[in-house]
Amino acid sequence: MNERLALAHSPVVSMDAITKTFPGVKALDQVRLDLYPGEVTALVGENGAGKSTTVKVLTGIYRPDAGTIRIDGKPVTLSTPNDASNAGITAIHQETVLFDELSVAENIFIGHAPRTRLGLIDRAEMHSAAQQLLDEIGAPLNTHTLLRDLGIANKHLVALARALSVDARVVIMDEPTAALSHKEIEELYALVETLKTQGKAILFISHKFDEIFRIADRYTVFRDGAFVEDGLVTDIDEDGLVKMMVGRSVDQIFPPRQHKIAEDVFEVEAYEHPTEFADISFSLRRGEILGFYGLVGAGRSELMQSLFGITRPSGGACRINGTPCVIRSPADAVANGIVYVPEDRGKQGAIIGLPIFQNITLPSLGRTSRSGFLKIAEEFKLAREYSTRLDLRAASLDQDVGSLSGGNQQKVVIAKWLATQPQVIILDEPTKGIDIGSKAAVHAFMAELAAEGLSIIMVSSEIPEVIGMSDRVIVMRDGRIAAEISGRDLHPETLVRHAAGITTTPQLQEA
């Protein structure tokens, strides 16, 4: 151990004062990150801390605005993914980027397959080299198998073999265990050990604390795009790490909320789905904002889609105002007064081909038509009413939705749903990717709606938003409700603990 640490004093890759700005957002602000040979460095941070951007900078997908990347102490420019690959940096992504219809060997060697003298691919050589790589990492795979026939864990092995085939010195693993079973995770750990003994520097990105403490040698914490601290994992405990992750200055102001306790509007009992979630029971009161917090992949969006009738649960019941309701399709949900504002505006929100007013009235056409024919004047009236309420900035309601800014498009989608006069509105990441000004407007509006008696379910991964806006918070982990938190217990650390599944709870009462 000591020997290895002594050897590892000079990092293979070192990022220094790296800054990357996107319009309106500083994704990385002078961050530093060092990766040492034969060691695993865990990059820790909340959603939006800048981890993914860091990976993209390291793999040549983004170019930093300022700062230097050094490899073996020499400054380098990684302008393209090819540069990164030539520099020996390779990444294994959450969703493996491989080709389903090609064989294992072809996937490993795509782009740099061994050639015969005629310039054709030397299949025999390719398969034997692939076999050798797979043997090295102890992967029991046939090189002729098509990738689509493999499970996710085995696809990771192929991705890894591919990484080794280009003689990688730095391996980036971006949440590699997110979709793996326990047994597969153990195998991955063994593999990481193998890579360490081969002297590879590993950057390990994970939300799971048990993983970090199990396999990482060093940690680096980012928060809101800025470097917080780094060090040896042996010098820190879970508590300290959580504090570094969430200890932020509050720079966002949330609207005041009246926490009125009213009757239950929407009750969900024992909802379950064969693969996505189980044992979901909760109730939503009139005028309440119920936050749903959890890590990416905890099953929050999947649950919401099921509540909205897009997927069907395999069991459970729900009641609206005490009356059992059957939701088999989104149309049923809308009829029952439940609406869903999805996360991905582009894909699931506004319909770009329709003008603003037609977007707003789309789910309310029953009310704007007479005997099966649409009344355009009625549509305009309805659209004007809600776009005024939402302070929508548009030259004309006849304008194409595509010409609006992201924030205003979001308003169109919300206006569309409010026009249906719902009782329950589900907002999935309502402020993700919109600028600060629009964010504040959405928050103020949510508070206003709740005060008017609308019940809101807010799925959010931003801790300040969850705490600032919610009356109660349900934390989900691995498809189940991990905790229901309200009032004084509503703390960033509590949320992170439950979401990450940290069972020990020292000094929580003091916080």
Partner: protein, 327 residues
């Protein structure tokens, strides 16, 4: 108010047709005589009717390659019914044609909706099957004009208010589809499904069902045209309207209906069909070889698509900006 995209495209197309007419008139003024223009329109009527159905299908991100085969099969069936029962009144014949066409459209629609087979595969299959059925029921024989009743062949040619019934049917279909697209929830759903199927789902629109209805409509119009076609040309055989489905798709593409769905208009489909109709009818009278006719039609398709791509590009820029933002 920003000018909407679709009227711009229609204006350009109308101007192109006008230019074409002027060019032809400068060589042969008789072409633009009202009586001849009526003939050209009447000749183009089947293409207009089918283009309307195809438009609806394409707008929901599907394609219907079976329209011409549907037309031929319906035409053969009604012709054989007419031979067997010459006294059956024309309204009944029309009803049978529409119903039969609808059934064939519904088969396409069900396969796309319930089995989620790609529309191009479904309709390629049913196209071949429909043609095969014609062969089976007719034994490959023709039904000729002398076997058909006078009322049967007379209907599409009957002149009412200066226009043959064929043209009136096309005009009625255009009016019907115009109202449907602009003023009914169904029309709105069709645009929404093609424009953004994910968003349509979240709005409570059943995407598969909307596509089914589009195929049903396309089939109904193909059936209707089947009778009109067979009666007008007074002959029914296996290969009538062979390859016509591609002309129908071409009319839609020229008319600015985006093959990616969501963008298009009744006006565009009609103008696209008229453009092809004018090209087809004008070229022979000014002694331009059939090769040029094909070349002009083909160029029109490419120009129209290039125009669409250019119109779509400004949208792409917005998406890129968003894609660049950190996750």
């Amino acid at each position: 108010m920003l000018p909407r995209l679709i009227p711009v495209r229609e204006t350009v197309l109308a101007a192109a047709i006008l230019l074409l007419l002027i060019l032809v008139a400068s060589r042969f003024s008789g072409f633009v005589a009202p009586a001849n223009l009526v003939n050209v329109f009447n000749d183009t009527a089947p293409l207009i009717i089918l283009a309307l159905g195809q438009m609806v299908v394409i707008m929901t991100r599907c394609i219907d390659l079976s329209v011409a085969a549907n037309l031929a099969l319906t035409g053969m069936v009604v012709a054989m019914i007419n031979v067997a029962m010459p006294d059956l009144p024309i309204p009944v014949i029309l009803a049978i044609a529409v119903l039969l066409g609808s059934v064939m459209g519904a088969i396409n629609g069900m396969l796309v909706w319930k089995l989620a087979i790609p529309p191009i595969v479904v309709t390629l299959g049913t196209m071949t099957i429909f043609r095969g059925i014609i062969f089976l029921i007719s034994d490959g024989k023709w039904v000729n004009s002398h076997e058909m009743s006078a009322a049967f062949t007379g209907f599409p040619r009957a002149v009412v208010l200066g226009l043959p019934m064929m043209s009136w049917v096309a005009i009625a279909a255009v009016a019907l589809f115009g109202v449907m697209m602009a003023r009914t929830p169904l029309g709105r759903s069709i645009i929404a499904v093609g424009g953004n199927p994910h968003a349509a789902v979240y709005t409570g629109i059943n995407v598969g069902k909307t596509q089914f209805i589009a195929f049903l409509l396309s089939g109904a119009l193909a059936g209707l045209t089947g009778y009109l076609w067979v009666a007008r040309y007074a002959v029914a055989y296996v290969d009538i309207a062979g390859g016509f489905e591609l002309e129908v798709v071409a009319a839609c593409v020229i008319g600015g209906i985006s093959i990616a769905g969501g963008i298009g208009s009744v006006g565009g489909a009609v103008l696209g069909a008229l453009f092809l109709g004018v090209v087809k009818n004008a070229m022979p009278v000014v002694n331009i070889s059939p090769f040029w006719q094909l070349a002009i039609s083909g160029s029109a398709i490419l120009i129209a698509v290039a125009f669409n791509v250019r119109a779509g590009r400004s949208k792409g820029r917005i998406i890129l900006k968003r894609a660049e933002a950190p996750s």
